[in-house]
């Protein structure tokens, strides 16, 4: 019996709620102007550090910029960082894991030694080290996160490939004379990729948080570009006077983290159900 995907989605509560949250964020990111009439960058000397009110529902910062508007316009960049910093390493890591696991031998040892070197750095230390060489900024933040994020995918894929490549159907494909490329992409990849996809959903959460943290530290997105971490960083000087600068962007970060975490949980439930 084939179950309709939509029905499956309705049964899986985590996946459903997560999807709704993410969909909402995507709408915010695509048409921010629907949700706010304020310019996120324009200064307004008449509205400096105003607390939340009917005019500015989340208050204003030290330049009179509307916080809600900065959050809404920041959504696009934060989601892009989350998804962009996840997808590229996922592809890189999967490719390396496939090659390493399938061919084994010297190539595998070489790639694994490279992996060991990357594993020796704590996440932020490596990302910060790369930014130190390239300089701070949005583009370099992406490059740093790409270079940091591929390791887990390689490890996941490699270990599964090592199991799958010895299975009968792969041996059969080999003896039928299929090319390595065809075996790798048509026969192995579809069977090893599911765990990486589940990991990817929770990795987006990590990437959004890491991107925001780097910007908070002044090493990622640079002001005045609206980005959640950077907005929160701007609130540091006003902790005792203007709590709204700090609190609201964090709430959005948590909501988006929740959305993607729930999708990840839902996907892994789905996967487990299929295994049984």
């Amino acid at each position: 019996m084939k179950i309709d995907p939509l029905q499956k989605l309705m049964q899986n509560k985590s996946l459903l709620i997560g999807s709704i949250i993410v969909l909402f964020l995507v709408v915010l990111a695509i048409v921010p102007s629907l949700f706010t009439s304020y310019d996120p960058i324009a200064l307004d000397p008449t509205a400096i550090l105003e607390p939340p009110s009917a005019r500015h529902i989340m208050g204003t910062d030290e330049y009179g910029r509307d916080i809600w508007s900065r959050i809404v316009y920041g959504t696009r960049l934060d989601l892009l960082i989350g998804v962009g910093a996840m997808i590229v390493p996922m592809i890189m890591g999967t490719a390396i894991g496939l090659l390493s696991g399938y061919y084994g031998g010297k190539l595998d040892s070489l790639l694994m030694r490279i992996l060991d070197v990357f594993m020796a750095f704590p996440y932020y230390v490596l990302a910060i080290g790369i930014v130190a060489i390239l300089g701070a900024g949005t583009k370099n933040l992406f490059i740093a996160m790409w270079l940091v994020g591929w390791k887990e995918y390689t490890r996941l894929i490699r270990s599964e490939v090592m199991v799958v490549k010895n299975m009968e159907y792969i041996q059969a494909a080999k003896s039928l004379g299929y090319s390595d490329g065809k075996i790798l992409f048509r026969h192995i990849l579809p069977n090893v990729v599911s765990n990486s996809i589940v990991y990817g959903a929770s990795d987006i959460v990590m990437c959004i948080l890491a991107g925001a943290s780097m910007s908070f530290l002044g090493l990622g997105v640079q002001l005045p570009t609206p980005e959640w971490g950077a907005i929160i960083s701007g609130g540091r000087a006003y902790l005792s006077t203007a709590w709204w600068i700090t609190v609201f962007p964090g709430v959005l970060l948590i909501i988006s983290g929740l959305g993607f975490s729930l999708i990840g949980d839902g996907l892994s439930d789905l996967l487990r159900a299929e295994d049984h």
């Binding site: 594993m119 020796a120 750095f121 932020y124 948080l209 929160i232 609190v247 964090g250 948590i254 988006s256």
Partner: protein, 313 residues
Amino acid sequence: MNNFSYVLKRFLQMIPVFIIVTVLVFLMIRLIPGDPARVILGEKAPLEKLAAKRVEMGLDKPLIVQFGIYLKDLVHLNFGESIRYNQPVVELLKVRLPVTLLLTLTSMFFTVLISIPLGYLAGMKKDKPADQVVRGFSLFGLSAPSFWVGMILLMIFSVHLKWFPINGWGADWGDRLKSLILPGLTSAIGVSALIVRNLRNNIVDIKQMDYVSFAKSKGVGRLRICLRHIIRNALIPTTTLLALKFLSVLGGSVVTETVFNLPGIGSLLVNSILARDYAVVQCLVLIFVVVVLVVNLLTDILYSVLDPRVTLQ
């Protein structure tokens, strides 16, 4: 292969990794556009100092000779001089390293304090309200950025309630311990979220094991079953995870120390990059890597000690 030779093998594997990282850190200064001596000494350095530095670094000599000079300096614990603080990097480390280690230990202490009872509770009361609440906490902990949690804690407990100092590091040990509590708690919340999940799932699995039902039918007391049969076994994988999370907390010190203005090596790394104080950056990156390598090795050893069934390969 017995465990001792495995540990020896792992140790030997660490050596090439360490050498490669050293090469990378050495190259770092040379990858940054511009004269490496100027990169290290900063824009304002006088010409004669620059010339002296070029000779000291051997910049006119082949790269391999320069690397030799760099290694020799490392062995002598000569990490160069900070242009921002005008003192040898070693002196900075003596003051800063203990702060970060204390912070990491405090966080681990809070992590254990939070996650073991919560994980146990959730696992034993699977799908009951207690479990739901704990799972909610863990979802929150995974989604909340630590710098934000830290700022909220500062706002509530330092600014409004005035229980803790707002800024930095106290003058005596009493004050210092006090200033470690909020930052320790901040990084503990994120890590606990993961540990709680892990422990809960372990307990749920182990509760269904045959040896637990056997112990029950043998008439072993409930407390004894919980302590000896369930918790003890559930904690094995969790302890390994805890040891690995020590490293995330250490790496996260970069963020936590910045939020709380603690004078550790995490905030030093961030400030040094912003100030282009590269001698410090080089040294700190190496130190972080050495700690990671050592902790990874210790984790392997710990795992085999805790679980005698494990033979390391």
